[in-house]
Symmetry: C2
Subunit: 420 residues, 2 copies
């Protein structure tokens, strides 16, 4: 008798290690063939489930699944598509269950951030209310590191390593040119609401490699005069200054400093451009020659510089999700629990989705220095373990070799279609 | 009897491997103690020579010099400062010789691009005309890869590896999100006049990993309608499109698409911003959701992703410069000579500075595909060997460990000062 199938989908902005979570889930399901049939993945995330566009991961050889460990992006496609309220858009949820029923899907693994944790919770609720036997487990992912309960989020450690490394390298460049060229360098980083990535820029500077930094956190309202003074002081003292600025920097009125004007499917403003804005300000007011960089997707796709800790944790939460489901846990998320800082030790715990969904974990104020422009020792103790270790991908002809799956479609079984 | 000293300085924009050339020169000088006393480095490039601000590299332990092999930026400081004409500003050149005479400097190693090759030539000429015994050798360096005679320039291979890797990684990200999010991604890269770095972006896509790319070279005038058609075609066919654009992109009238308005010490326009401009154009005319990144200094400082070939060649030209000087060659530059493509083999040759100075090597038209938006097999055959091999720096606590030298000042001997 065939075993029930599992559904796995990736949601929201991808990371350089979300595929490692996919590998963890799929390999663990394959290791439990006596209880799970096939893992069917949603093409382009939850949209694949709604439109019955499913990928049969059993068609992929073991080596392709293993190669997901070192491949950035979302191997099955992801999407920015948020299911609406259960009361107002019940048909969407019923459609999901129709598809699950048609393909004998009894396990629902949803790999995403806050929004998808909420979706995962709602799916588990409607399944229960309709009497459909579904076990729903959320797999944490987000570069923003803003998920509640879990000590950190897979995806964040690698971005943190990337921005800290990039700023350190740029600082060596700027320092050597500052006498006659660029004196102020500005790096814009991601992190819409929470300053975790901005804080990670602070790791570029440490005792052995001090760098004059000014960090602009999204949580701290931008004070132009005070900022310019901080940059001027450091530039006069060290000959140069490096600024790390969050894309989500806001002014005292709470307005984004750089509002691009467009919004994504969740209604979030599409950001970008605060880096050049800050650089221009420095030039106009202090007359220092400047350069700026906007890493944008490069930071969250940079699998070549992934944190080994991050890769391992991403795999672990994918694996744990399947194990939790098999042990009968429903509407939960495997969380990373920090056991100790030095040496860094962690384990997998369990968080109820009701505590995770739609909650944002902001950077604690005591992770930011008193002047608001740096990080504290407490922040370092938290951040350093997350960027530790290297996990380079294989290279050929000088370039990383990333896998593209075959992504074989599962034949449709439903007569009806659905417009998401 | 003390041996004559050598002078070494870094000039112009630094690279992730220029310090490997410094290591090559200093270690080779140290290995020839019977003929060269100390290597004195100019603090902040040639300005250090003019102001008698010299660094005694003999104060650095061997392990610090060895660590230059994996440290980006310019370890002694570089500068954007071009010596003016010999006829009009003879005093500058005479000042250089005063400083050299005071410190018994008989070897002049100048590590830079076109401008510094010209300076190196002029210094050798005035030394000869004034009867001062100086051997001047230029050490090639530039991320732009636009130096004449040499097959390629140290510094370029690592930038090429960085931009190709970054675009490949971003493409995996964009491809997985394109259905509901970003469809067009734009990466702005360096390369003021010559499209070598833009061409390297083309390596992101190959037979095993095809990526829909549109490259905008500085040599090919921007044709808006044709460009938009190319982007639209690829986006419709593949669901997404990646654009690599040179900071030096020009319109049909030869004007820079993004002129920042400021100019550096050489009178070159300070560029930046064509990436967002192109992205906005795609949004306005084609209405595709876009993202853009400007890697700026990150690309030329990214020692963590350096090409092993590049590091080896950077060291080799530093080493060869000293060997050439010791063999009596004057007003020359060690050049990289390509012996074969497959397998890639290279050796060091010798180029007279008169053939190198102030000449720019542009990207050949037959390296660019007929439509002007891609690279040819000929370009690949040239480029691939240059990005081959990895040479990661040591890491500690998750971050690359780069060396900062003590940079001990040589006591001044001249009563006079000089304002450069």
């Amino acid at each position: 008798m065939p075993k029930p199938n599992a559904f796995y989908a990736q949601s929201g902005g991808v990371t350089s290690v979300i595929n490692a979570s996919a590998a963890g889930a799929i390999e663990t399901a394959r290791a439990n063939k006596d209880r799970i049939g096939r893992v069917l993945a949603g093409r382009n995330g939850i949209i694949g489930a709604l439109t019955e566009d499913l990928i049969d991961t059993s068609k992929e050889p073991a080596r392709a699944i293993a190669a997901l460990m070192h491949t950035p992006g979302g191997a099955f496609g992801s999407c920015r598509y948020k299911l609406k309220g259960l009361d107002t858009h019940r048909a969407q949820y019923e459609r999901l269950l129709d598809v699950f029923r048609a393909h004998d899907i009894r396990y629902f693994f949803y790999n995403g951030g806050n929004d998808s944790a909420d979706t995962c919770l709602k799916v588990s609720q409607i399944a229960e209310s309709l009497g459909y036997p579904l076990t729903a487990v959320h797999v944490p992912k987000t570069v923003d590191n803003d998920l509640a309960v879990t000590d950190n989020c897979p995806g964040f450690g690698s971005v943190a390593k990337y921005v800290a490394t990039s700023m350190r390298e740029a600082a060596f460049d700027v320092a050597s040119m500052a006498l006659t060229s660029t004196k102020v360098f500005v790096l814009e980083v991601m992190g819409r609401h929470a300053g975790w990535i901005t804080a990670a820029v602070g790791l570029a500077s440490d005792e052995t490699t001090p760098i004059p930094l000014v960090l602009l956190f999204p949580e701290i309202p931008f004070d132009e005069a005070k900022f310019l003074q901080a940059v001027d002081e450091r530039t006069k003292a060290f000959g140069y200054c490096c600024v790390g600025v969050s894309e989500g920097l806001r002014n005292a009125e709470g307005r984004l400093m750089a509002e691009a004007g467009t919004r994504d499917a969740f209604g979030h403003a599409q950001l970008g451009g605060v880096g050049p804005l800050i650089a221009k300000l420095v030039k106009d007011r202090l007359n220092y020659k400047y350069h700026w960089a906007v890493a944008d997707y490069l930071q969250r796709a940079a699998r070549h510089l992934a944190s080994k800790t991050d890769v391992e944790q991403a795999y672990a939460v994918g694996k744990a999700a399947v194990e939790l489901a098999l042990s009968g846990k429903n509407a939960v998320m495997p969380a990373i629990v920090r056991v100790s800082d030095k040496p860094y030790r962690w384990k997998i715990g369990v968080a109820p989705l009701s505590e995770v969904a739609n909650t944002e974990k902001m950077l604690p104020r005591d992770y930011v220095s008193d002047d608001g422009y740096g990080i504290t020792d407490k922040a370092r103790a938290y951040l350093v373990p997350l960027i530790k270790g290297e996990a380079p991908p294989p290279y050929r002809d000088g370039l990383p070799q990333y896998v593209r799956l075959k992504n074989v479609e599962v034949p449709k079984k439903l007569a009806s279609t659905f417009e998401p």
